[in-house]
Structure formats: structure tokens, C-alpha cells
């Protein structure tokens, strides 16, 4: 007679905090990959242009921004050709806004999974943040082409590119996890989110260089973590100044935001299936 498997308990929540079981999360990794793959397949099956669409969007936006902000408004671009400058910003920005929207909608979009099967709910937003990386990959290829056209050559900082991509992903999760949880309870979060992302676009160095902000204000500015992400990404790809000390502020915001985000998500977690 073999030893019976151990008890798995489901009991009333006791403390204010639910513990994050990394071990359990790891056990459900395969579900995460399958969900990510499903999302990716469906996205590219349903759209006529497929991958082209992912690339077309920032290209068109970059063209418009180059005319409006580069030519007409003459915004600074740290000595990089403005078209290349703004396109590199938009590559990061479309990854950020697209993935954030997907993550914020992830639980609501997968309500049948949440209400009909058991797994740590955290798997869903984590998994759905991954397909955006594939889109980012396509955009990077196009960015390479644009840079070649303008004769812009990346330096040694290119090696740090994955760091900025990861930082951006963490910003998405820090903001996206609480939004996903909030969305379960309040469905108008989605409409608000679109507006907030628009506002944030102009509070981030996408269409202008962050060198526009000077002195001690730079530390205040860097409370927006996308400042360091965008500066770092530009430095690694199209060139421009390396992120300064204020990047530490952004980094701290990311770390604190992520911890708070996970806690908020786990606290809401116990009621998802009741509410959704």
C-alpha cells in the first residue's frame, strides 16, 4: 500500500494577505505557455495582415509624429534623426500600451477559465503578457531597417537591450495586475485605461527627448518609470545619452509598484470566481 497523497486544503481566508506560492505557480507554467501560445495563434489567425499590422501601427504613428512634432514643433531628439528617434520610442510605447491593455483585460476575457477550473489566477495575466514580446521582436526588426536607412549604428549598449525590454514588461505587470483585478469588479476600467495611456504618452519621453527636463526636476520626472525604460532603450538602440542617476528612481518605482501590484492582485484573487 502506497502512502496516500497529501491533503490539499481550501479554507476560509484568515489573514489580510494571501501568500504567493511560487512553487505552485511553477507547477502551472505549462498552462501559462499554452495560454500564451493560444493568444498568439488566435491573434495572427484572425487578422488579415498578421504580423504586418503590429509593425504598421508604429510606422504610421512615427510618420505622423515626425511631421507634427519633428518638423512643425521642432521637438528635441538628442541629435538623432527625429524619425528614427520617435520610431524607437513608439516601438517601446506600443509594446507597453498593447501589453498593458491585454493584461488589464486578461481575467475578464478568460472568465470561463477562472470560474470553471482551478489554477493560480496569476498565471493568466503573466501568460498574456508574453505574446507582446513576439510583437516587440517584429518591431525591433523594422527598427533595425529604419536605422539602416538613416545610417544610425548602435553602440556596445545594444547588449543591454533585453534589460530594458524586461524593465518595460515589469512596468506593465506592476500597473496591469491591479488593473486586471479591478477590472473584474468594475468593468469601466477599460475605458479609463485608454485615456490614461494617452495622457501617459505625453508624460513620457516618446515624442521628445527627456533632456527637455532639467536639473532636480529630472528626479521627479523619473517617478514615471517609463522615463528610464524609454531612455535606456534609446541609448541601447539609436544612441543618445545614457540614463543618469534618476534611473534609480524609476527602478525603485518599478520594484515597489510590482510588489504592491502583486499584493493587490492576490488580495482580490480570493473573490475572482465569485465576482467575475
Amino acid at each position: 500500500m502506497t502512502e496516500p497523497p497529501p491533503w490539499i486544503e481550501n479554507r476560509a481566508p484568515e489573514g489580510p494577505l494571501s501568500l504567493l506560492s511560487l512553487e505552485e505557480l511553477w507547477r502551472y507554467r505549462e498552462l501559462g505557455f499554452v495560454l500564451a501560445a493560444r493568444d498568439l495563434k488566435v491573434r495572427y489567425k484572425q487578422t488579415l495582415l498578421g504580423a504586418a499590422w503590429v509593425v504598421l501601427q508604429p510606422v504610421l504613428a512615427a510618420a505622423i509624429f515626425t511631421i507634427v512634432f519633428g518638423r512643425l514643433a521642432g521637438l528635441p531628439s538628442d541629435g538623432v534623426p527625429y524619425a528614427v528617434f520617435v520610431f524607437s520610442g513608439l516601438v517601446v510605447w506600443s509594446f507597453f500600451s498593447g501589453t498593458l491593455t491585454t493584461v488589464a483585460q486578461s481575467l475578464v476575457q478568460n472568465r470561463d477559465l477562472v470560474t470553471k477550473t482551478y489554477f493560480p489566477s496569476l498565471v493568466v495575466p503573466l501568460a498574456l503578457a508574453l505574446p507582446g514580446l513576439v510583437d516587440l521582436g517584429f518591431s525591433l526588426v523594422v527598427l533595425g531597417v529604419v536605422m539602416a536607412v538613416y545610417g544610425v549604428v548602435p553602440g556596445a549598449a545594444l547588449a543591454l537591450l533585453p534589460v530594458w525590454a524586461l524593465a518595460c514588461l515589469l512596468v506593465v505587470l506592476a500597473a496591469g495586475l491591479p488593473l486586471a483585478a479591478l477590472n473584474v469588479k468594475y468593468r469601466d476600467v477599460r475605458h479609463t485605461l485608454g485615456f490614461l495611456v494617452q495622457v501617459l504618452l505625453f508624460a513620457s519621453p516618446v515624442v521628445y527627448a527627456s533632456s527637455l527636463v532639467e536639473g532636480g526636476w529630472r528626479y521627479v520626472y523619473a517617478l514615471n518609470p517609463m522615463v528610464a525604460v524609454l531612455d535606456g532603450f534609446r541609448w541601447s538602440t539609436v544612441g543618445g545619452p545614457a540614463p543618469g542617476l534618476e534611473a534609480i528612481v524609476s527602478l525603485a518605482v518599478i520594484v515597489v509598484g510590482l510588489i504592491v501590484g502583486v499584493i493587490v492582485f492576490l488580495r482580490a484573487d480570493r473573490h475572482f470566481a465569485d465576482l467575475i
Partner: protein, 407 residues
């Protein structure tokens, strides 16, 4: 024996108004002019103080009326919802089949969906790959593996979904009302597979409206009422007591299936010789009258009336579509359907149920009438009855050729 599921003081409270989402705008409005209802009116205990222990290899049916807490119980066992009080614990791998095709995506092919659904139900991709051929064969969709799911008929969809679920190989299988959808053949296969799993020594927890299915499949039944355990024991006894007390109406019953469903004002009555009779003898034809209204258009609506005896055996099950075309109507309408059954029932008590649905949607299913069939005055009161008592004719001929028989 090893206990594999154990509930202690399990309770689950829902706050009314908390289920379902609200908009942030509404909530802000609430804050500005708060009108809190008294807490007692806004709270519902879906489960209250449930204690239960289930041993390895048991097949347990959970019965009870709508809203008795059956589904909530399964969902807490499956860890999908957290209890409000107490705890439930479980040993081994759990397969929860609360819905067929969880995670299915219409744009993906049959093959892709098998893998997706299998992993969602707790298998690894390797395990799905190992059982892939079996699953496909059980579902009978070999030719459509590379076809997107959206092109599948609803029957194929159901078969594929159940096939995956039936091959998950859990130690404890939790099955909700999933069998309510699908045709009779589908249900037969599902029940067959479930009893196979039971025979393999797996623990099965099964919820159904169909007390007949529970009686056939399970060895033990738990009757939930208002979130509490009302009865627990051998399946035939519990089901019998359940049917005795729950189906109150005798010859006429009216229900409103669900407040927002397609079907409303459903009524079922039984008549003998054109009247709602008080005692019905076994030699009288039975006329069932089913009336209902639909709020929306219906397509290929089918109706069935079934009779279950005290042992949970489905003695009669008649489908409209076996004889007549199904009903399609482009707008709201009222319907009246009559079914006549020739005298065939043995004396005893029957429960009469109705099923209303189309090939891919269930509108109503429930047991509505308790129908006592009286013996004939000439029947021996203590006689043993067969399962049915059709109209028979005896004839006795005098032995031929016996001397002195005729004078």
C-alpha cells in the same frame, strides 16, 4: 479505506449585489448617497456547516433542488471559490468538469484545442500527446482534426470536449451538470465512461438534476437543501426519500424556469379521460399536457417527457422529435404539447420530468409531478409487479378432449 475528500464546517456566503460586476461610476454614486440594506437581507449562505467525508473509490451523487448549493459545493471542492467558514480538503489529482470545453477557442483547430483543453484540465502536454489517439477516437472526429472548431457542429464540439475531459485520469473526478446538454447517445457515452472510471477505483463526485442518472451511476447520494446536508446514505434510499418529498405536486405543476431564460410559464399536467383525475388506475391511458411560452425565437426545439420509478429507473422517455418535426418559431409564442401514453405502468409512484431544449441548448430540465398509479380493484394487493404492466389479455381454453367436459 482512505478518505480523499473531507469537508468540515464548510460554509460559503454570497453577498447579494456583490455577484456580478458594477461599474466604478455606479460605485462612486453609491458612496455619495449610501443606502445600505440590512445585512441579513443582502446575504445568502449557499453552503452552511457542511461536514462530509468521502472515501477513495466512492461514486457520490449530490442531489437537491436548484439553489441548494450543489454547484457551490463542487466549486469549493475544486478550489475555484474560497469558503467563508470551515475548510474542505482533498487528496490526489482533481479533475473538475464543471463545463464542457473550458478554454476551447473557436479559431483554433480541433487538434490545437485538444491540447489546450487538456492542459487547462490539468494534464501536461506530454500526457495529452500520449492519449491523443484515444481522445480523438472517443470523440469520432478524426477527419476534422485540422478544421477550426468554429466549423464543428454542436454535437462534434460536445463529443470532443467530453472526450478530453474523460481522459484526464484524475484521482478525484468532479462532474457538474455537464451531461444535461447533448443528445441521448452523447449522454449514454458520458455515463458509460463515468461508470468505467468509477470501476477503476477513482472517486467520482457527480451532480445532476436527473436523479435517475445519479441512481445508476452512484453508490451513495448526498441530498443538499438550503446549503445543508439533509440526507446522506445509499443512493436508492436517499433518491427515494428525495423524490418523495421534493416533487410535491401530483397532477399539475407550474414553474418559471429562470427569470431571463427563453422559456417561461411552463406547466405540466396529467389527465385521464380528459380530466385531471385524482386516482389514476393502471389501465387508464395517460395524457400529459405540457404548455409553455417562449420569450424569444426558437430553432429546432425538442421536448421530452420521462417517468422515473422509485428505484430511479427511467421507465418511459419519449422525445417529440422521434415522431414529429421539431418546433421552430421566429418570435415569442405559446405552445401546448400533448403526449398520450397507453396503459403500461405498474402500480406505484412515478416522478414525471420534462426536458426542453434544442440540439445545442438546454432550456429546461426538471422533475415536476409525482404520479401515483393505482392498481386495479381486482389486483392482488400483495402481488409482485413487473417493471411494466401492459394491457394484457388472458384466455383460458378448456383442456381439449377431456372426457366429461361437455355434457
Amino acid at each position: 479505506m482512505t478518505t480523499v475528500i473531507e469537508a468540515q464546517g464548510l460554509g460559503k456566503r454570497y453577498r447579494l449585489g456583490e455577484s456580478g460586476y458594477v461599474t466604478l461610476r455606479e460605485r462612486l454614486g453609491d458612496v455619495l448617497r449610501p443606502e445600505p440594506a440590512p445585512p441579513s437581507e443582502r446575504e445568502v449562505w449557499a453552503l452552511r456547516n457542511v461536514d462530509m467525508a468521502i472515501e477513495q473509490g466512492e461514486t457520490v451523487g449530490i442531489i437537491g433542488r436548484n439553489g441548494a448549493g450543489k454547484t457551490t459545493f463542487l466549486r469549493t471542492v475544486a478550489r475555484i471559490v474560497r469558503p467563508t467558514t470551515g475548510l474542505v480538503r482533498i487528496r490526489g489529482r482533481v479533475g473538475a468538469l464543471l463545463e464542457v470545453g473550458t478554454g476551447f477557442h473557436p479559431e483554433l483547430t480541433g487538434r490545437e484545442n485538444v491540447f489546450l483543453n487538456g492542459v487547462v484540465l490539468g494534464m501536461t502536454r506530454k500526457e495529452v500527446a500520449r492519449r491523443f489517439d484515444e481522445i480523438v477516437e472517443f470523440a469520432g472526429v478524426e477527419r476534422f482534426l485540422e478544421t477550426p472548431l468554429k466549423r464543428y457542429s454542436s454535437g462534434m464540439y460536445l463529443r470532443l470536449a467530453f472526450a478530453v475531459a474523460a481522459h484526464v485520469d484524475p484521482d478525484v473526478l468532479i462532474v457538474d451538470e455537464v451531461l444535461a446538454v447533448g443528445d441521448a447517445e452523447f449522454q449514454r457515452r458520458c455515463l458509460g465512461r463515468l461508470s468505467e472510471l468509477g470501476e477503476e477505483g477513482r472517486t467520482v463526485l457527480f451532480v445532476s438534476h436527473d436523479s435517475g442518472a445519479v441512481a445508476r451511476l452512484c453508490t451513495r447520494a448526498v441530498w443538499l437543501e438550503h446549503g445543508r446536508v439533509r440526507d446522506d446514505g445509499p443512493v436508492t434510499e436517499v433518491v427515494d426519500r428525495y423524490l418523495q418529498t421534493t416533487v410535491q405536486a401530483v397532477t399539475k405543476a407550474e414553474v418559471d424556469p429562470s427569470p431571463h431564460g427563453v422559456i417561461e410559464r411552463l406547466s405540466l399536467s396529467v389527465h385521464v379521460d380528459g380530466e385531471a383525475g385524482e386516482t389514476i388506475r393502471r389501465d387508464q391511458p395517460l395524457i400529459f399536457e405540457l404548455t409553455f411560452a417562449s420569450r424569444a425565437p426558437v430553432r429546432a426545439l425538442d421536448a421530452a417527457i420521462y417517468l422515473i420509478d422509485r428505484h430511479g429507473i427511467r421507465v418511459v422517455n419519449e422525445n417529440l422529435s422521434d415522431v414529429k418535426p421539431t418546433i421552430s418559431e421566429s418570435g415569442p409564442a405559446r405552445y401546448r404539447i400533448l403526449l398520450t401514453i397507453t396503459p403500461i405502468l405498474a402500480p406505484g409512484e412515478y416522478v414525471v420530468g420534462v426536458w426542453l431544449g434544442s440540439s445545442d441548448e438546454l432550456f429546461f430540465r426538471g422533475e415536476l409531478l409525482r404520479l401515483p398509479i393505482a392498481p386495479l380493484p381486482s389486483d392482488h394487493t400483495e402481488s409482485v409487479h413487473g417493471l411494466v404492466r401492459p394491457a394484457v389479455e388472458w384466455s383460458v381454453e378448456q383442456p381439449v378432449g377431456e372426457p366429461g367436459a361437455a355434457s
